[in-house]
């Protein structure tokens, strides 16, 4: 087995570990904890009064814009990583390429800021 596969078998094992930790602890706890269900316990908490309306209500869209911005800049960041580790070899040419790349996206950020998209009012 190559190093590479060992790496990712380990990663898989740790992802499993997270799930197992949760399930094991819940399993042990389920043996110890009491269970005394009453109707009131399963009510949604709303400061001591009966819930008004639906708990699932549409919220404001401003989060959507932040999500959108994030996706775009995340993609940008992903492109930067390979470049970053090879910068020495790519030299001035690579540097210029990346600066152009970043600059174009910075225009987008400036646009968003100037349009007041990031304001909450």
């Amino acid at each position: 087995m190559t190093e590479y596969f060992q790496d990712y078998i380990t990663v898989g094992a740790f992802i499993g570990l997270g799930a197992v930790l949760v399930l094991a602890m819940l399993g042990v706890a389920s043996l110890l904890r009491p269970s005394n269900p009453t109707k009131a316990k399963y009510l949604t908490y709303e400061c001591g009064v009966d819930p008004v309306g639906d708990g699932w209500a549409q919220s404001h869209v401003r989060y959507y814009i932040f999500g959108l911005l994030f996706v775009i800049f995340d993609v940008e960041a992903v492109f930067i990583f390979p470049w970053a580790i090879k910068l020495e070899e790519l030299g001035m040419f690579g540097l210029v390429e990346m600066v152009v790349f970043i600059a174009i996206l910075t225009v987008g950020l400036v646009y968003a800021i100037r349009k007041g998209v990031l304001k909450w009012e």
Partner: protein
Amino acid sequence: MLDAQAMAQISETSVAVELETSDMTLNIGPQHPSTHGVLRLVAKVDGEVITDVRPILGYMHRGYEKISEVRTYPQVIALINRIDWTSGYANEIPFVVAAERLMGIEVPERAQWIRLILTEMTRISAHLLFMGSFPLELGATTPLMFALRDRERVLDVLESVTGGRFHPNFNRIGGIKPAAGAGKEQKKLTQDLPAGFFTETEAAMDGVIASTDQLEKLLRKNEIFVARTKGIGVLPPEVALSYGVTGPNLRASGVPYDLRNETDYLPYDQVDFEIPVGTEGDSFDRWWVRLAEIRQSANIVKQAIQKVPSGPLQAKVPKIIKVPKGETYVRAEVPKGVMGYYLVSEGGQGPYRVKIRTASFSNLSMLPWILEGVIVPDLLAVMGSLDFVLGDVDR
């Protein structure tokens, strides 16, 4: 890198970022960590912006105005202690003074000075509580501990005199009650204050002043605290007056109205103090005014303990108190603002009618005005800074 002109073009038109969203009705309270008792706010929120807010009171309504009609005057004093439980002692003063005025009693000077000292210490303890609870609502926990540490000392002193930390029930019509546990001999000799009271008080006041410095250092220039409170919940003076907002909230809006300066219910004219006044009327100013008031009160107490004369504690009053027919409106500056009692006597052992005008009731009545368009996180920065107590609202 960027063409300045291109940037200007980009920013020319403002894009409003909004999609259709539905309002959500959010219940804040009655069982909520920061409603100071049991206030319930029914807020319509769009995202996190409050479009409409309806306060629902009455969870603490105890009907004090009615109960007072069936109690004797001394019993009413014990009752009204509980109106604003953070400043129990100060609540008693205007009622007692109203009864004394109707009876035409001259209260001995010593009793008046002791009343003044205890009132100011009550103010300090109430404001220190605010100094802790307000930052706590903004997420800063440490000021609470600092504030409570020194509040404890003040309460200890209060307790040593009155026997009670929250509900002293120490005033009597015609003067004050002799110190808790004081023997017959002490009553006669006016040794009403416990031994070491003056030095203890002096030390406690120094502690309080040091504590205010500490609190100021911790928050006044704290970028986040300033960003959360400056310009938030601005209350213009005209609006404040039309809603009857009083106390530090009114003074933060720039109106130097303080009853201690204006009426003679206690000998405030014989001590030197300033009235801190805000400029903006925002949450920050309301915090700052209270901080400054703690210092002033501590100074008042320090001056007053030098001035307490010896003499009797009680004027001569009949064993069974009956207040002659008449009516009067007496107000006092309690920590939350103006508290007034409109006392109507028909000559009985108890009041015929008492209208209790409390500060928090009026201070809170402008909540729908000030909260409109505020976002949920600012709700706390506004509500917390108003410093109300639900017992004081509902009575």
